[in-house]
């Protein structure tokens, strides 16, 4: 029998430190597969965020730097400008990218820095124990919205893809999910396309991945997948938002 599915080479053997059922692991695999498929792992520099994925350097078998919270796009800019022939990607959570790092992602996208951003939207701050993220849904209970997110004082969830797509600069922007195999196949395609965009020197690319945080959602992995499908996808429609070069 032939092996038809195995761990991609661009992942190390270190077991993930993520909670059971957390999609971070799937996203890691898809990124690693993209690096494998495109044969770019040895030329890739990853920028890990401050968030649950801060330990990503243990898992990806490529050069990695951990950026300050929210500043991954700036750090990636520095890397890419010095090493334009390398492939540079950031891997950022929603607190990291859409809250503290808002200015950095908007301006990196606007400058159309030739980097690829993997944006993990799990509607919560995972690492710090479940506080409200900019992407937390209306009414969602978190540590810092203990009575549910109230749009009157906390605003509505931010849709990053839609926001960034208004910028008049080259870019590839898509939103994907991972709750069923069909979605995963699409997610894989989008991530690969995003890296290809960079390889082709076309500019900035970003894939938003709707992700789960069973631990902080207080749900089982299965329930988390359901919640994602029933609550998140309607507010965060999947699809490609921009492809301009």
């Amino acid at each position: 029998m032939k092996k038809v599915f195995e761990k991609p080479k661009s992942l190390t053997d270190v077991p993930f430190t993520y909670c059971p059922g957390c999609h971070h692991g799937i996203i890691h695999r898809l990124v690693a597969e993209a690096l494998d498929d495109l044969g770019i792992a040895k030329d890739t520099i990853g920028v890990a965020p401050v968030g649950c994925a801060v330990l990503a350097y243990l898992f990806f078998d490529c050069d990695i730097i951990v950026a300050a919270h929210g500043r991954a796009p700036a750090t990636a800019t520095g890397l890419k400008r010095v090493k334009p022939d390398n492939i540079v990607f950031t891997y950022q959570g929603d607190g990291d990218l859409a809250s503290i790092g808002t200015a950095e992602i908007v301006h990196a996208a606007n400058r159309s820095e030739k980097i690829t951003v993997i944006f993990v939207n799990n509607a919560v701050y995972g690492m710090t124990g479940g506080q409200m993220a900019p992407t937390t849904l209306e009414g969602q209970i978190t540590q810092t919205s203990p009575y549910g997110r109230d749009p009157k004082t906390m605003g509505m969830p931010i849709r990053v893809c839609e926001l960034l797509s208004t910028l008049n600069s080259p870019g590839y922007i898509a939103r994907v999910a991972l709750t069923k195999p069909a979605y995963i196949v699409k997610a894989k395609k989008a991530i690969k396309k995003a890296f290809q965009f960079q390889i082709d020197g076309k500019g900035f690319s970003l894939v938003e991945v709707l992700s789960t945080c069973p631990t902080n959602w207080g749900l089982s992995p299965k329930e988390s997948n359901e919640w994602l499908e029933q609550k998140m996808i309607p507010y965060y429609p999947l699809g490609e938002f921009k492809e301009v070069f």
């Binding site: 030329d43 750090t75 800019t77």
Partner: protein, 351 residues
């Protein structure tokens, strides 16, 4: 022969950086250092492969520097007081990651938005660590436009040598003034290779990481200890100009532009028969404590003078170990001390 050029301090820093092989600059405008960012734009945008980015903020700039340094680039950023405050987290990261880079602070009056006039109120921030955690920058304090250039080059070299960020601590007056400056031959090939640690392509080697943290306290302490050892090793770089120290009536300690003003006071004092000695720390970190210690006993009185409420004076006191009577004279808010004021202060102390 090398040409003498009449240049603004800010521009001399920029030219020196380029001279020293700096090809990456990330910064954000702010008075009184905006001529530097403009100079870098003008020059770097014309050099193939070089990068000039006006970043969205000082915060972004320092984090771009972090990335560029991690990739092995000789990289610089610059700002003035409020902008430097915004860089503190990033500076702390770069220090922890042990990456080389040069940060220029052309100080202005503070706190807050302050004034845009020259000041020296950021000494503590620069030398003690304005960011969190135990770390130090290499801090160089030029006092002429020529020294702005020379110390900028030195900052790059020391930064590479110790893999530690280095800061040029100037002020608005130095940045804005013009003086003749020469750029001596600099051998770009002498820049240490960063191949052994910089990020990039990993063909033929293991993948590398630059991670300025460790969740295990014991492991994190190892990082701290490595830094500490580095700071100890660095002490040998301490530098201090010693002026007019045979038999002074009083010793003045001052750095940067203020030290030059003291020099005029020295000349004026001679006419009044007063002999003023001057100790001018050139490196503020490592602080030339040994030179201070060796010299303070040569006069009964020591006057530290700064364009601040008194910051370096603490390091002088620490160096003097209670062995001298130390006074302080300072002006703040952007007011530049005049030679006459210093002379008056000296006379008051000698009474």
């Amino acid at each position: 022969m090398v040409d003498r050029l009449l240049m603004r301090g800010n521009e001399a820093i920029g030219e020196a950086a380029i001279h020293a092989g700096c090809r990456y600059y990330f910064g954000y405008p702010i008075t009184p250092q905006s001529e530097l960012i403009a100079y870098m734009a003008k020059r770097l945008l014309k050099i193939e492969g070089a990068t000039f980015v006006q970043s969205e903020s000082e915060l972004a700039a320092i984090n771009m520097v972090y990335g560029a340094a991690a990739a092995g680039g000789r990289v610089m950023t610059s700002s003035s007081s409020p902008g430097i405050s915004l860089k503190q987290e990033g500076i702390s990261y770069i220090t922890c990651a042990e990456l080389p880079c040069v940060i220029v602070n052309i100080m202005r009056g503070g706190p807050g938005l302050g004034s845009i006039q020259p000041a020296q109120g950021d000494y503590f921030q620069a030398t003690k660590g304005g960011g969190h955690g135990d770390y130090h920058l290499i801090v160089l304090a030029p006092s002429t436009v020529q020294e702005l250039a020379d110390l900028t080059i030195k900052a790059f070299d020391l930064s590479d040598k110790y893999r530690n960020p280095a800061m040029i601590l100037g002020d608005g007056l130095l940045g804005q003034m013009m003086e003749p400056v020469e750029f001596k031959e600099y051998d770009i090939n002498s820049i240490p290779s960063k191949e052994s640690w910089a990020l990039g392509s990993s063909h033929g080697r293991e993948a590398r990481t630059i991670v300025p943290f460790n969740l295990d306290a014991g492991e994190m302490e190892k990082i701290n200890n490595r830094l500490k050892q580095k700071y100890i090793d660095m002490q040998k770089e301490a530098e201090c100009e010693v002026v007019n120290m045979d038999n002074p009536d009083i010793i003045v300690v001052a750095y940067g532009i203020v030290a030059r003003i003291v020099k005029t006071a020295i000349q004026k004092a001679k006419k009044d028969g007063i002999n003023i000695g001057l100790l001018r720390p050139i490196t503020l970190y490592p602080f030339p404590s040994a030179v201070i210690r060796e010299n303070v006993h040569k006069a009964k009185k020591i006057l530290v003078t700064e364009m601040s409420m008194g910051q370096m004076v603490e390091d002088v006191e620490l160096a003097a170990c209670g062995k001298a009577e130390i006074s302080f004279y300072g002006r703040t808010g952007g007011v530049v001390i005049s030679p006459v004021e210093i002379l008056e202060e000296v006379k008051k102390l000698l009474k």
